[in-house]
Every structure is written in structure tokens, then in C-alpha cells.
Amino acid sequence: MTKSKKLRKNNVENNVEAMEQGWAIMEEGIAKLKNILEELESQFSSEEYMRLYTTMFNLAGRNNIDDDYICQQLYNNYKESVQAYIMSTVNPSLRDKHDEFMLRELVRRWSDHKVMVKWLSRFLSYLDRYFVVRKKVESVKDLGFSCFRDMAYGEVKHKAKDAVIALINKEREGGQIDRALLKNVLDVFVEMGKGEIEFYTDDFEDAMLKDTAHYYSRKASQWIFQDSCPDYMLKVEECLKTEKNRVSHYLHSSSETKLLEQVENELLVVYANQLLEKETGCRALLRDDKVDELSRMYRLFHNIPKGLEEVAKIFKEHVHSEGLMAIQMIEDATCNKTEKAGGARGEHALMTTFIELHNKYSAYTTGCFCNNAVLHKALKQAFESFCNQVVCGTSNADHLASYCDYILKKGGSEKISDEAIDESMDKIVKLLAYISDKDLFAEFSRKKLSRRLLFDRNVNDDHERLFLTKLKQQCGGQFTSKMEGMVTDLALAKENQNQFHEYLINNNAAIPGMDLTVNVLTTGFWPTYKTCDLRLPAEMVKCVQVFKEHYEAKTKHRKLTWIYSLGTCSINGKFDSKTIELVVGTYQGAVLLLFNDAQRLSYSDIKTQLNFEDDDLMRVLHSLSCSKYKILKKDPDSKFVSPNDYFEFNSKFTDKMRRIRIPLPVVDDRKKVIQDVDNDRRYSIDAALVRIMKGRKILGHQQLILECVEMLSNMFKPDVKVIKKRIEDLLARDYLERDAENPNLYKYVA
């Protein structure tokens, strides 16, 4: 043997010996540790601690990294000791206990084990520093934990899980349990994962969730039949609250979402439709305005997938039927009476009812339904579904325009406050959003605006402009540009009038012969009015002449067209008893003036002299001879004017007032308005189609229709058939062509 070999042999022998000696000391230490845990002995003294630590340290120092004999031995011995400890002490104690007692034992044993391992790893810390790293094995501590996990925990985990679940269910049924114990037990599960949650989830949570599902499934199947919808919902809320509470007290926080999901699933998802469709369900709650219950319903159904779809559907149906009911009621009450006055009130009743409905159900969507988009959409669809029906023979666009007119007239005569007007306008604009024929509304509004501006004495400029601003915000500038022009025209008219007065003052030759006010309207803005070639009485002719000279001097390149049908005049009627001032339309004035020169005139006389059309003349004569104020006597004295009648000035006429208005009834031109709007729509559709095709160059049929509808949606809802016709027209006019291969494809022809 060489010297080195001999040395080595000695060393090896020495090492084995040293190992045996050192470990013996360690075993003593371990035994003491066990006793400490069993509370049979008190803590290590400092000397004991130092002795153990130093022995291990020295041993480890002798370790030769070539064979790692010492460290390997130490490591193995340690492992065996721990395992022996578990086998001999821990497992038996766990085995013979059950339920709560077993759980307590588990908690205690784990805690003890942690202490033991902590101490031992301190003693063996040298191993961690070098050996463990070099050999890439578990650290001393981890090894200790693994032994527990595999041998003790592994054996008892099923029992433990079952015991915990049993306790949870006991608590659910109202029993008292030791929450702290459960928290500790579940902490054991969690700690087994050393940072990962998988032991907790695999060995406990999964089973707990399944069990929870079963539990609530049973409960739900009872409750759904026994309980009313509100009661059931209360129970659900309660259960969710309790389970959440449970998590915060002893379950791991990661369980919360999964647990609540299980509960919601069993209580709500499975029975959602049944619950909503109960007699005491969603419809009943809406019917009875049970706001609290509806809020609860929202809260509960909000969290489950597609939960609100069914609720939204019922809500939509409910609002829809409320709308239809309102319409029916009003139709029955007012439209079946033929009174026009009653009809007018009825219109406003319709709009005010709609507004009330909208207020009510908007409050629901913002309140109970927390502004949820799905419910908002349901509300919108419901309103759209009944706001576009024809009521009392005319569309809601018309009704709404009448309502606006009514509000603005009232505002003009200051019967309602500014705030009330503002509020009403907001409501009107909101309702307008649901009406698809917005262009029809615009046209009716324009006509009514025109009458207000020209005939109403109490037009409030501010209100009118405010209303147009609100409309513009909602529908865009194109919608309101004409009406704004009209309002501006009237504002300018005053200025123009001043200029005219100045002209008259400065120009002696210009004598109209009477007080004359002329409103000059810009053609494009105002509705078109039928002009007639009225042969004015001489007195009026002079007026027109004078103004014409003034105007032509003022501006060039403008053509004036006189619309006498819109004018008013004041005439003094020198009756026998007294003179009464008559405020009449220009047409009526023209007829009356004829009687200055003739006592008795026939229908045809009047017609020829003034060059009236029959329908106009009949209306005029009717208003003067057959209505409330009989300024003219008609022969024969029948109710209606006929072309064979004769008329005389009724000198016997009198009235207690000194000034009376004799209005000319407005011709109902609704049909014409609708016709005009229809025509405009054709042009709009054409323009939209061309614009789209110009941009896209080539587009499929359905896509073209979709985009066209989209483009026009904020003015009206075009009929698909009409669009198709316009496309065909454009094809015929060579704006578009069909693709040769695919007849469903259109190409723009430049």
C-alpha cells in the first residue's frame, strides 16, 4: 500500500467511525426533540444546541467532495429518522381518531412536524449550503415536509376532506362549528403545496365544490316549487352572502369565485327560466312596479352568463304591451269621437302618455337595472316597436310634431314655465329617437313652425331656437337647417320692415295708402305654398307696387313671389249698429272689399273678378257667410257654399266685441306632406346609393342595401323594396351595372 492510499484508508475508517459517533449524538437530539413536542421535556439548552450543531458541523467538514460519503449518510439518516418518526408516532395517532378529533390531531401533528423539521434543518444547515446544491436534491426542510406530505397527509387526506365537508354542511344547516379549526385544517392542505395551491384544489376544493353543487341543487329543487319568485330570490341572495362569508372565515380566498359560481349555477342558471316565468315572476314584478325585487333580480341575474337576456326579453314585451295598451285606450277614447277638439286633446294625451311611459321605464333602466346596456337595448326596441304604429289615422311623427307645436304655442303665451318647456323638449327629442320616420316629423314640424312664425302673435324666439338646438344635437345639422333659416328670416324681417318704413318716409311718391308690413321669406327654407294669381283689389295693388319698388332698389337678382294666402289684413266693417274691426286673411279681405262697390254679387262674379280657384273661394266664402260670424248674407241660406249662390253685405251684423278675428280654416295637407316626403326619400335613396357605389366601386346586393339603410337611418327607415326599385332605376340609367359573372354584384359606372 502506498502512503496516500494508506492515509486514505485511515481516513475512510476514521470517517465511518466519526459518522457513527456523530449520528449517535444526533439521535439523542432527535429523541429529545420528540419529547419536547410531547411536552415531556422543555426546550434545548444552549449547550445542547451548540453540541448538536458543532457535531454536525465537524462531521460535515470531514466530508470529501469526491465521494460525499459523510453528507450522503447524514442526508439518508435524516430522512430515515423523519420517516420513522411519522410511522411510529404520527400515523397511528391519526388513524385511531375520527371527525373533528382527527382534524385536531392533524393540525397538531403538522405543527409539531414543522417544529421538528425546523430544528433539524438548523442542525443540518451545512448540508443545505453545499451538498444539496451540488447534488440537486431537496433541501433538508423540504425533505422533511415531503415525508410528511407523502406519508402522513397522504394517508389521511380523504378522511380529512370528508370531515371538513361534513362540518361545512352542518354549518349550512344551522349548526355551530369550530371555524378556527377548519381554517387550520385547510391551511394544512394549502401548505402541502409549498406555494402552489394544487393540493388544496385537488384534494379538497374539487370535492367541496361538487358537494356544494349537490347541496344547493337539492335545495333549489324544493324551493323552486314552494317559494314565490321574490322569496326565492331573497334566499339566493342570502345563500350567496353566507358562502362568501364562509370563504372569508376559513376557505382559501381562491375558492371564492368558484364557490359562488357553483351556487349561482345550481340556484339560478338551472332554474332561470322557471323562476322568471313564475306567476310571481318577472312579469308580475314589472306589472306591480316592485322596484326592489327587480333590483334584486338584476343583481342576481347580472352575474350569470346570458342571465339578463331572458329578463330583457320579458321587460321588452312588457313595455311593448304597455305601449300598445296606451294606444288602444286613447284610440277608443278619442278617435272614435269625431270631434276635432277632442281629437286634438287626444293627440296630446297620446304623447304625454308615451312620455310618461318613457320616464317610468327609463327610471327602471337607470335605477333597478343599473344602466345595463342589454336592458337599455330592450327598452329602445320596445319603444321603437310601438312608436311607429299609426294611431288615429296618422303616424306618430305627425302626433309628435303636433305636440311640439302645442308646447311651443303654450310657451309663447307663457302658460308654462321655461323649465317645463325645457323638460318637455328633452322628452320630445328622446321620443323622436324611437320614431323611424324622422324626416316626416321634420316636415310636419316645419309646416307647423311656419304657421307659428307667420300667424302666432306670441312666438317666443328663444324657445324656438332652443328647440332647434336640441334637435340639432340629436339629429344633426341637416335636419334643422331649414327651420333655423325660417327663424332667422323672421328675425331679419323686423329689420327689413324698419328699412321699408324709412323708405316710405324718405320717398314721398311712395304711398301705399295703408299700413303695410311685408315679410320676405327665403324660398328654400320655407314649405312650398300654392300661389294663386289673385287679382288684388286696387287698394292692395298699390301696396304691393310700392314695396316692390323698394325691394328692387334694395337688392338685385332676387325674385319676389307674393303668397297672399299667408297674409292678414284688418278691415273696418261699417255695420249699422257699430263699426267693428275685422281681422281676416288677405283672401277674405279681397272678397270683402268687393262689396264696397257692389251691393250683391254672385259666386261667379266674385270668382271672375278676383280670379280665385273654386276650392279656395268656397273656403273663403264659407268662413264669411256660413260660420260663426256672418259678415255676408248668403242666398240661399244653406250650410254650404255652392256656385249658384249670391252674396250680400250683412249690414245688420254685430258683435259685442269691437274687434274680431275670422280665421280661414287650414287645409289639411297631411297627405301632400306625406307625398312630398316620399318623393324626397326617393332622391335621398338615389343619392345614398350613388355615394356608396362611388366609394366602393363594386359591392354585393345585400351589402349595398345594408349600407344604404344604415346611411339613411337617422332620417327614415327605407323600405327594402323601394331601394331595390331605385337600384333598378340606376341600372337603367347606367349609373350602375351588374357584374357579368355574378348578377348579385353591382359595379359603379364612372
Binding site: 323594396k721 326599385k725 333598378e728 341600372l731 348578377p743 353591382y746
Partner: protein
């Protein structure tokens, strides 16, 4: 123009076989073909008997009776198609030549014999749509005319589509006669009818989708059929 004459001449003039026979054959063939062209022209002038030297309506009538067909027979329309005749009721020399050369018909007998083949050619799928649209254009007698009155259209449908799509044509003609919305038909609508007959199951109409780009008149026609089915 009249048939091709130069056959494949070898680049060098040395011919391996009896070139003389070849030449004679070629000359004879050429002469035959030239004669054919001449005969075609001759035939033309037998119907175009006055200035301005085109076959006019009376000439066409005579032609029809010589061919043994009625002047409203679809085959005269097919002949016009073969000629790509531009003006209804008139055949020019070029048009005449175009058709008869293609048909290899230089006598009236041969022309008559060529008619069945012509029919088959028209009915071939590659030509059918072309013939159909030609039928419409052929009836646009005025310059810049874009539509044909419904009654003429009915007759035209009968002529052109009856043999293939009898039930559809009957239904369509019935509909066109009783409806009042459309007094005239344009090319797009005309082609719509053709597509309808070809693509849509009749009388089930189960594969008709009014959301597609069918002309409105076809949509209305389908609605009418469906409402009358009861």
C-alpha cells in the same frame, strides 16, 4: 370572306411528292370555295332585289317561305343571330355572308338542311344566354330604345324559351298579361327572366331568395305565384 386558300406550303419549293397534283387539287378546291362564296352572294341578291341592296322584310318573308318556315318561327331569329343582324327585318350582305359561310350553305336547300344544326348550336349552353339577350336587342327597333312593351315581350318569351321552359313561360306570360305595374321591360329584367328559368326550381320555387338581386318584377312574379297557389 370566302374560305381560306393557302394551305401549308413547305418553305422550300422542293416537294417530295407530285406537286402538280397538289397544285391542281388546291386550285380546284379554291375554285370550289370561290364558287361557294359567289353562290352565297348570288343567293343574297335573289332576295335583295332593289336598292339599297339589303334583304328587306318582304325579302325575308320570301326567304321564309322558301325555307318552309313561318316568318314568326324561332329559326329565322336564330338565323339572324348567326348573322348578328343589327336591324330587325333587314339583312345586309356582310351579315348574310357571315351566317351562310359559317353554315356552309350556298343554296336554299343546303340552308334549309342546315337549320337543325343551327338550332342545336343555339341551344348549346355556351350560346344560349347570348342568343337570349340577342333576341331582346334585336327587337329594339328605335335608336336609343331601351325597353320593349310587355306584349311583345310575351311573344318573344314564347318564341325563345317555350321549348325549354314551358311551365315557367306560361306562368310568366300569364302574369305579365294581368299585372299593371310594368308596361315595358328592359334588358335587365329580360335577363332576369332567363336567370329565373335556369336557376329556380319550378313550380316549387323553394330556392328563390328575394333578398338576392333579382329584378323587382321577378320578386313580384314569385309573390304572385305563391299567393295564387293557395
Amino acid at each position: 370572306m370566302s374560305g381560306s386558300s393557302s394551305k401549308k406550303d413547305a418553305p422550300n419549293s422542293k416537294r417530295p411528292f407530285n406537286s402538280g397534283a397538289m397544285d391542281r387539287f388546291l386550285a380546284a378546291a379554291h375554285k370550289k370555295l370561290s364558287s361557294e362564296a359567289e353562290r352565297i352572294d348570288q343567293l343574297f341578291y335573289s332576295y335583295a332585289i332593289t336598292p339599297p341592296w339589303v334583304i328587306q322584310p318582304q325579302g325575308i318573308d320570301t326567304l321564309c317561305s322558301d325555307l318552309g318556315i313561318h316568318h314568326t318561327d324561332v329559326r329565322i331569329l336564330m338565323l339572324a343571330w348567326k348573322m348578328q343582324a343589327e336591324k330587325q327585318g333587314y339583312f345586309t350582305l356582310d351579315e348574310w355572308r357571315r351566317a351562310l359561310t359559317a353554315l356552309r350553305a350556298d343554296t336554299i336547300i343546303k340552308l334549309k338542311a342546315a337549320l337543325p344544326e343551327l338550332e342545336r348550336e343555339v341551344r348549346r349552353s355556351s350560346n344560349r344566354a347570348n342568343f337570349y339577350s340577342y333576341a331582346f336587342k334585336y327587337n329594339l327597333t328605335e335608336e336609343k330604345q331601351k325597353f320593349i312593351d310587355t306584349e311583345t315581350v310575351c311573344a318573344l318569351l314564347n318564341l325563345v324559351l317555350r321549348s325549354e321552359f314551358l311551365p315557367q313561360v306560361d306562368a310568366l306570360i300569364h302574369y305579365l298579361k294581368i299585372q299593371t305595374d310594368y308596361r315595358v321591360i328592359n334588358m335587365d329584367q329580360w335577363m332576369g327572366f332567363y336567370r329565373f328559368c335556369n336557376e329556380i326550381n319550378f313550380p316549387e320555387l323553394d330556392n328563390y331568395d328575394s333578398d338576392q338581386a333579382w329584378p323587382l318584377i321577378v320578386d313580384d312574379f314569385v309573390d304572385w305565384i305563391r299567393s295564387h297557389r293557395g
